[in-house]
């Protein structure tokens, strides 16, 4: 057996899959190593009884429609990875429950007292009009934001086309740089958006785990624009379908994949990686390495002290770990109509202030902020006839498991799930608990186990203004520990999200392919 590869990809998460697929397609002798028995990391599925659950994907923007595929759908097509996409034409519904004595409270759906109940439609015009109907005076500021984000995408096109005109970039697209240099909050204030409307407008903060007061407008809008412009998509057969399609594309292009194959050490020669040890025993060698393991664990786990430049350690220690999640997966023995669900994605928040929501999630798992998804709204046949699938997500920050004993963990999981389900029942005025046929609960240790990240974060590093997409992009190559070893995944340029991770793999592969073809 020939043990030498052009490129070894460590970890078959979304980033690693895309990296291996592009390298294999370019004709590089590619080996993809994954410690688990399945591809995808977050992008997977699991079966309980007669239900197959989606572990993590809420929705994906930038897929487009079958007759007009865009970014990620094109990426999959380009790689020969076939996915059956299902689109849904809504953004989100934000509900903020009201205390009995709250003067802003009113009686909403199912007789529940709420302060905010905003079902936001797709389309810039429709979205802005709806926002205005909820908070008068927000139409103009909202339309201005979408004008800015449209301009921003034009600038992105110019930057990625390779035909960069610096004069035009700074004159026509000056506002784009301003968006990158200022927070969401600062920009919305500058555009005169009323406070309450800002709360509704920034509800997507949870998808990136970064609050409006700390997060840059450029990156927030790159996501928000995508969802509001065209709605979102999902793979028909859970995200395991996307991972299987990538697996097949890699093999079809001559790449090799090994599951149950954990990289336990990176081998060094002349101060640079030259190979890896698999499962503590087998050595394989490579010229280039793409690493889908979070740097916070990759550096201490895979290298001996002194092998990694001090600078690389600083880039780990100097950054806060991003959010982790609490998830509850419910297989229901009633249909969505019987249960009373008619929205795909509902954000239940303790306050309409997104910054406050972020602060309430520090060091705490709990039911304050819950996203509830009814999968059958997006994929009607995702569960057997007469049933439905609900998926609850909470967000938390910090080392929330410190001091939790193994024997207390099962009870803790049940307690937190119970609180989250109760919160949904009370806020929506619906009954959920008696109809639970299957339940699974994921806490940060669950994500730690499957994703191998600090605090079990699926989100990489905290996306703050100072460490957001654009500064990370500008310094990407400098951020890598060696000139033949590139990180990919949520810890890199674009942070969390499936699309961002696929992109990170494509980017790392591009740099490796370039060096390879230049004979370096």
């Amino acid at each position: 057996m020939n043990n030498n590869y052009d490129v070894i990809v460590i970890g078959a998460g979304n980033g690693g899959l895309a990296a291996a697929a592009y390298c294999a397609k370019a004709g590089l002798k590619t080996l993809l190593l994954e410690k688990h028995n399945l591809p995808g990391g977050s992008a997977s599925s699991f079966v309980r009884g007669r239900f197959e659950f989606e572990p993590s994907l809420h929705e994906l923007f930038g897929v487009g429609l079958p007759d007009n595929p865009t970014d990620y759908a094109k990426m999959f097509m380009e790689l020969g990875a076939n996915v059956d996409w299902r689109s849904h034409n809504s953004t989100y519904r934000l509900i903020v429950p009201a205390e009995a004595d709250d003067p802003e409270g009113f009686v909403g759906e199912n007789g529940v007292r709420v302060k905010v109940d905003a079902s936001m439609p797709v389309g810039f015009e429709a979205f802005s009009r709806k926002l205005d109907s909820l908070v008068p005076g927000s139409y103009e500021p909202a339309m201005k934001v979408f004008r800015l984000s449209t301009l921003m995408y034009e600038a992105f096109d110019m930057l990625t086309s390779g035909k960069i005109n610096p004069v035009k970039l700074l004159t026509k697209y000056g506002d784009v740089f301003k968006m990158a240099g200022h927070t969401v909050k600062e920009c919305l204030d500058e555009l005169g958006m009323p406070e309450k409307a800002q709360g509704i407008f920034t509800a997507y903060w949870c998808y990136m785990g970064a609050p409006p007061m700390r997060f840059d407008m450029l990156y927030y809008m790159s996501m928000m624009h995508g969802y509001v412009e065209r709605g979102a998509s999902m793979p028909h057969l859970r995200s395991h379908e996307m991972s299987c399609a990538m697996d097949k594309a890699i093999r079809d292009n001559g790449g090799e994949i090994r599951y149950n194959s954990e990289v336990t050490k990176v081998l060094m020669k002349d101060g640079k990686p030259c190979g890896v040890v698999i499962n503590g025993s087998t050595e394989v060698y490579g010229r280039y390495f793409i690493c889908n393991v979070h740097p916070g664990f990759a550096l201490p786990d895979l290298f001996a002290p002194g092998e990694v430049p001090e600078d690389a350690n600083k880039k780990v220690n100097g950054r806060p770990i991003a959010a982790s999640l609490v998830t509850v997966y419910l297989g229901m023995n009633r249909t969505k109509e019987q249960l009373g669900f008619h929205d795909y994605s509902i954000f239940i928040a303790p306050t309409s202030d997104s910054d406050r929501q972020f602060h309430l999630s520090q060091g705490k798992m709990g039911a304050d902020f819950v996203i509830i998804n009814c999968m059958n709204e997006a994929i009607p046949d995702c569960s057997p006839e007469g049933t439905s699938i609900l998926f609850l997500t909470g967000i938390c920050y910090g080392d929330v498991m410190q001091g939790v004993k193994p024997q207390d963990y099962k009870k803790l999981k049940t307690k937190i799930a119970d609180e989250m389900i109760t919160r949904c029942e009370q806020t929506l005025g619906l009954t959920i608990k008696p109809y639970i046929e299957e339940i699974e609960i994921g806490l940060p240790p669950t994500f730690s186990r499957y994703l191998n990240t600090p605090n079990g974060t699926p989100y990489g590093y905290q996306l703050d203004l100072w460490d957001s997409m654009l500064p990370r992009t500008i310094q990407y190559e400098k951020d890598q520990p060696f000139d033949n070893f590139y990180f990919c995944g949520a810890s890199q340029e674009r942070g969390d999200g499936y699309g961002c991770a696929y992109y990170s793999g494509q980017k790392a592969a591009g740099l490796v392919i370039k060096q390879f073809t230049e004979g370096k």
């Binding site: 301003k178 200022h182 697996d247 639970i436």
Partner: protein
């Protein structure tokens, strides 16, 4: 276009990049800690393997023994993983150079695991290779390797009724024994009424232990159901089988109840028909897996004209070899019989640990064991533990690890 963000300067962004470099320069340059509470907990609950030693052997009945397993620090295990009552361990053994696995429910309490003790109770299976080997060979001091606790046969308060009727047959008593102890210890909180089917009084496993638990714990009750025609029954005994009438007799009349089943395949075939008469909601019936499936040709949808022997070309970690076996054996069994160690945990189709790629050829999976993901069916992945070859196959199997 006129600027919409008039009071901002486009150069503000430059300071963002400079700020990032400054922050990194000031950061700690030592090796990152590489640990946190979530990682520690995940590792404690799901170790890659547990290295243990047999500390005691207890003869429970003819051909039934309990083995007490304790950590073996000399091989790197200093503590045992805690588990929810009802879980199983996969045991790894090598018999005449053949690497095989078996799943056994833990019969001891979760609490005992914290004191460094698991108990597995193993009954000889007719023609059973592994159970024979273990009963004949394991003695005090034997080194054993087991998996982390696995499986989903557990009480879940948000899903199950507060009252549970446990239906056990033979050595299917083991997970219920663990559950009853967990209730007595306060680790679980539900009312368990156990209907335990045995042929006669002499065949009952853990009779004294169950009686003691019943006495000590008001939430647990056991009813022995004896099937031999001339079995002597008395107070606390029922005669016959695990029928719908019997379940109704012991189930609460005015409250919902869950039924948990653990026993051999034949018991499920009988009890499932009885349960159908009770018209319970599907969520209230939960089966533990019964292990390996044999004789696929007995299934009504098994195709005709399958050759007796098949060739399997297997690639594992980049190395290819071809083995031969009987089409009556699962792909996993054929690999093991040829000395190929393959990943396996539940051996019942459910856990998916053996997930492998079928490159060419056809297999048969009994429908009731087919827990593959939908995309697996589309992309050609199989669970070798319940896949029976219908033709020669080419497969890619991950290393056993």
């Amino acid at each position: 276009m006129e600027s919409l963000l008039k009071s901002f300067n486009k150069r503000d962004f430059i300071s963002v990049v400079a700020n990032r470099q400054k922050r990194f320069a000031a950061a700690d340059g030592s090796v990152p800690a590489g640990t946190d509470g979530s990682r520690e907990l995940a590792r404690a609950l799901h170790p890659k393997a547990q290295y243990v030693k047999v500390a005691a052997v207890t003869e429970r009945a003819p051909d039934v023994k309990s083995f007490t397993l304790v950590p073996d620090p000399s091989r790197g295990t200093t503590a045992l993983a805690w588990f929810g009552a009802g879980k199983y361990l996969t045991v790894f053994v090598t018999i005449n150079g053949m690497p095989v696995t078996r799943a056994y429910s833990i019969s001891s309490s979760p609490k005992a695991s914290l004191e460094g003790k698991y108990e597995l109770t193993i009954k000889l299976v007719d023609g059973g290779l592994v159970s024979r080997y273990i009963l004949d060979n394991w003695q005090v001091g034997t080194e054993v390797t087991v998996s982390a606790p696995e499986g989903n046969f557990e009480y879940q308060p948000l899903r199950d009724a507060k009252n549970v009727i446990g239906l056990a047959g033979g050595s299917g008593i083991t997970p219920f024994l663990s559950m009853a102890q967990a209730i007595a210890d306060g680790d679980e909180d539900f009312e368990l009424t156990l209907l335990y089917g045995s042929r006669n009084k002499d065949n009952i496993l853990f009779f004294d232990e169950l009686a003691a638990l019943e006495k000590a714990c008001p939430k647990f009750r056991v009813v022995h159901v004896l099937s031999d025609k001339d079995a002597k029954a008395g107070k606390g005994f029922e005669k016959g089988f695990l029928t719908a009438e019997l379940i109704q007799k012991y189930a609460p009349a005015d409250a919902p109840y869950s039924v948990f089943l653990c026993g051999p395949q034949q018991m499920y075939e009988f009890v499932d028909k009885e349960l159908a008469k009770l018209d319970l909601e599907r969520k209230f019936i939960r089966h533990e897996m019964f292990g390996e499936f044999h004789n696929p040709a007995s299934q009504p949808d098994y195709p005709a004209g399958v050759p007796e022997t098949v060739k399997i070309t297997v690639t594992q970690a980049g190395e290819k070899k071809t083995v031969e076996g009987s089409s009556n054996d699962s792909v996993l069994q054929i690999l093991e019989k040829n000395g190929v160690a393959a990943p396996a945990r539940c051996r019942s189709g459910e856990c998916g640990f053996c997930h492998s790629l079928l490159i060419s050829g056809k297999i048969y999976t009994p429908p009731h064991m087919d827990y593959r993901r939908m995309a697996d069916l589309q992309f050609g992945f199989i669970h070798p533990c319940c896949s029976f070859p219908l033709t020669d196959l080419e497969i890619d199997v991950p290393p056993a690890k």
